[in-house]
Symmetry: C2
Subunit: 391 residues, 2 copies
Amino acid sequence: MHIKKQRLLTPGPTPLYPKALHAMMDADLHHRTQDFRDLYTRVLTDLKEVLGTSHDVLVLVASGTGAMDASVSNCFSPGDRVIVCTAGKFGERWVEIAKAYGLNAVVLEAPYGQAVSPEAVEQALAANPDTKGVFVQASETSTGVAHDVRAMGEAVKKTGAIFVVDAITGIGTMPLDIDGWGIDICIGGSQKAFMIPPGLAFMAISPKAWAFMDTAKLPRYYFSLKKERKMAAGGESAWTPNTALMLALAEALKYIKQLTMAKLVDNAQQLAYATRVACGALGLELFAPDSPGASVTSVKAPKGMDSGVIVKEFKSRFGSIIANGQGSMKGQIFRIAHLGYFDYPDLFAMVAELELILHANGVPVEFGKGVAAVQRLYAERAIAKKETVNA
Amino acid sequence: MHIKKQRLLTPGPTPLYPKALHAMMDADLHHRTQDFRDLYTRVLTDLKEVLGTSHDVLVLVASGTGAMDASVSNCFSPGDRVIVCTAGKFGERWVEIAKAYGLNAVVLEAPYGQAVSPEAVEQALAANPDTKGVFVQASETSTGVAHDVRAMGEAVKKTGAIFVVDAITGIGTMPLDIDGWGIDICIGGSQKAFMIPPGLAFMAISPKAWAFMDTAKLPRYYFSLKKERKMAAGGESAWTPNTALMLALAEALKYIKQLTMAKLVDNAQQLAYATRVACGALGLELFAPDSPGASVTSVKAPKGMDSGVIVKEFKSRFGSIIANGQGSMKGQIFRIAHLGYFDYPDLFAMVAELELILHANGVPVEFGKGVAAVQRLYAERAIAKKETVNA
């Protein structure tokens, strides 16, 4: 064994922002104190600013799935008609939640690697005028596909339905105009572009969605969004908050505010684009070439090769953790993340590792070719720009 | 601003081993307790094992320079004849310490970028039969040069002098047979290959050196090695120890024992060699081509270019911290470290960054060429080996 550093290249958990990690050491505190109320209020204010929304923003002690569950149990009644877009494992989770709560779901399914079109949503809404809600992933993490949330939102906006977007890996990897695009519930998670460990879910909730809660009949207790909103107004959470993660989040939000959300998104998009170009240079096929998101890039294993071998060798040779495909995609694709705390040097190293792993498995590779493709993109953006500024 | 992670590529402080960093959180403890005595005893035992010596090993709350100071103040008397080898800024520090304590120093000076030869030491010993001590750097961090400590030790061994080796960046980057080569005092520092923050110095002291202390007349108090040895036998330190760093060191030593010192050295040597080959592929000239060490590689800036520009752009473009030259070498060379917690992906990224920085400053560069040189070396070592094992 030589030195191999563990490097997370996975779409959640993502690499931790060091100052946020260190801030967790201040967690020897009590949550029913003015100090904590100040912290909680600041986090909610910063989160709202970073998400760029005028809607109420809440934090739940839950994984992202908890917020998905809460959006259903708080806003709907048994038998309600909903439209569920599914393009992968996380879309299937919407289907499962709708089923668990007895909703009447029209499922719009895209094959793995493709997106559900806004036109399909528009048509389904027209065919089902009683629709109460439309569910989608902004970014489908299992395939790397991004949905056209803006166009979908425009369609839902005109109806009485609310638009519920799982933006868990969408936030920080794509522009999201929550208010402007009519996103009634926007869901995020701590372990994604927020660069902190798992354990918190975020929800931005529109007035239209709040109104749904007045008549929604589904039972709920822990995930009572109205109670959370009421408590948040006083700087507290309904139940015991995750104080360590709240401290981490405060630090991460400070960093994201300084960086700006636009730059955080651009960072992920540059790295995702460069990854696609590097894969092209290495003769690798993308799994979602038509609507690629910037949270994660899904790449097909070379013909005759199990993608699990690539995943395994990233770890055994270099200590890097990448993701395999999920469900039936397992063994077919591997996934490289870009959301959150990633930079160009991460990508230089990852592509060099990938080249060596392909070579080690008999795939013809010209060493440095993929890296050079990324370097050319960096040079075009960052070096030409500098010379223009100086000229 | 986009995301730029800080990456230390400096020859001390070096990147921290995460588990060692985290262990510092247990520092809410008292040092005159059995718990601490157990910890301290374990650290001294492990340190001895890792250094591969039967000599007494001590830990001082000081930087490496403190141990250099202690080796003089504990073992010599005013006017004692010593031979000081100097091949850079740290050799000059030996000269300064000898002067500060009124020793009578014969200085053997090599130009920056070159090593003092063992023959020069042998001749100086012959010419000065009253010599009490010989001082040298195993690895001269300011230039990247390694000294032939083994051959020097053989020469000193035959005399009445003690051989004092600053191995602060030598430990973990070159084989060091402390007992076999006659190294009477071997000095190390925490922030080097030990992968923890600065604040601790280590000394391995031979029976021959201990005997010197019985007659040494120089005044000393804080750095009383005899007192430290006596206290260490009971699991305590003479003065208040650095408890946080002791916890970190315990964790780092556990890792180094698992890795083995031989592999730690081989790791640095592989990365240093690959760095030299990559620089060659990029047409860069090495500053110390004849006796390069593996702690740090010194590279000349391309003609007409200030090395400070390269240092600055590593930081501003990528967040990477590399070292400039020191003293008169400032502006002429830049230095890339390999000692401690570094791996191949670090090097892939560093070389890709260097290529871009050269390109940004008008130096003709073929993107990926240096990276490919490193990849070829990795493939030769790690991939061919694997196939041989399987065959």
